[in-house]
Symmetry: C2
Subunit: 190 residues, 2 copies
């Protein structure tokens, strides 16, 4: 039986991304977002939603660039930290013992210790309400070579990304393989 929970920002799954940027003084920063994801295949693009009061907001507006860094589950506490504390007050890379790597294609840093990072050039901003959506064109996807599968593609269980459950506010791992996309459904064709 369905129960109504009302008008709340609640759906499963949501990702955990760390958005990398340089502020006006060139200090590298990371902040955690769960409101975001791929939003177009061509040009390949990712959207992340950020509140105006976040330190990252002006950083992206000014440099027109950001990264989306994917933490593995062993960095879940680091990701949580980067969502609680502000880059206005400290260098979160230093506080967390993480290493900023300058983007190859864009003016933004990514996290050396994480298995996956995406470099993005800002293409659109959209004010929705409390959050503003930053849409970036993917310039490159970087992956730790130990996380590739036999076909040279990222293996999601090797990357071991973090999933966020809104509501219960819990971090989860990715579980086992269920089915092959663009394939499993064909068996249901009448």
């Amino acid at each position: 039986m369905f129960q109504s929970l009302g008008a709340r920002p609640l759906v499963f799954p949501t990702p955990i991304f760390l958005v990398g940027s340089y502020d006006r003084e060139g200090k590298p920063n990371i902040m955690t977002v769960a409101w975001g994801g791929i939003c177009s295949s061509q040009p390949p693009s990712i959207a992340v939603s950020i509140r105006k009061n976040r330190w990252t907001y002006n950083a992206i507006m000014e440099r027109r660039a950001f990264t989306v860094c994917v933490p593995s589950t062993r960095f879940a506490s680091h990701a949580d930290y980067a969502g609680i504390f502000s880059g206005e007050e400290e260098n979160k890379f230093e506080a967390l013992g993480l290493t900023p790597v300058a983007g190859e294609h864009v003016d933004a840093p990514y996290v050396a210790e994480f298995p996956m990072a995406v470099e993005l050039r800002l293409t659109h901003t959209l004010d929705i309400g409390l959050h503003t959506q930053f849409i970036g064109e993917i310039m490159d996807v970087k992956i730790d070579s130990s996380c590739l599968d036999a076909d040279g593609l990222p293996d999601i269980n090797k990357v071991d990304p973090v999933i966020f459950a809104p509501g219960a506010r819990a971090y989860h791992a990715v579980g086992g393989f269920i089915a092959k996309a663009f394939s499993a459904g064909k068996s249901l064709r009448r």
Copy 2:
């Protein structure tokens, strides 16, 4: 060591949502998206990206409403089907033996057999390229009462949603609990 994979729509995790809509004739339809997610907390909003050539595109444009239905992993093949075949040619609810339920707050159907559904009123559209982003304000979240935890919140492992891994094009389950958000990071504070 990082390896560049180039400019590709590739990040982990992405969700699997089934977008529900009525077409001009009132036929209920569902299509599968992996490009989407929550994009604002207030007003609570979800974005989904849909190509112009999809049957759902005009349906949402005309009715200004859609649902986001969350399949559990046992419906992974159904979700795959709804991403391969078009609502222009058939009633996918009938083809899959699923039951459309008329939205309580919006002019769009959701899937009775799935554990979770969100009713959305279209507020913005944004052409990004191959995909157009449809942003809807969440009017209600519906959950099967068997999927609630002791606090009355949706339990992500009971909902058992599907994760999509782009690149390898694989569906995965959600795994175990890792840490509590807005909490685990505080232990790293110096």
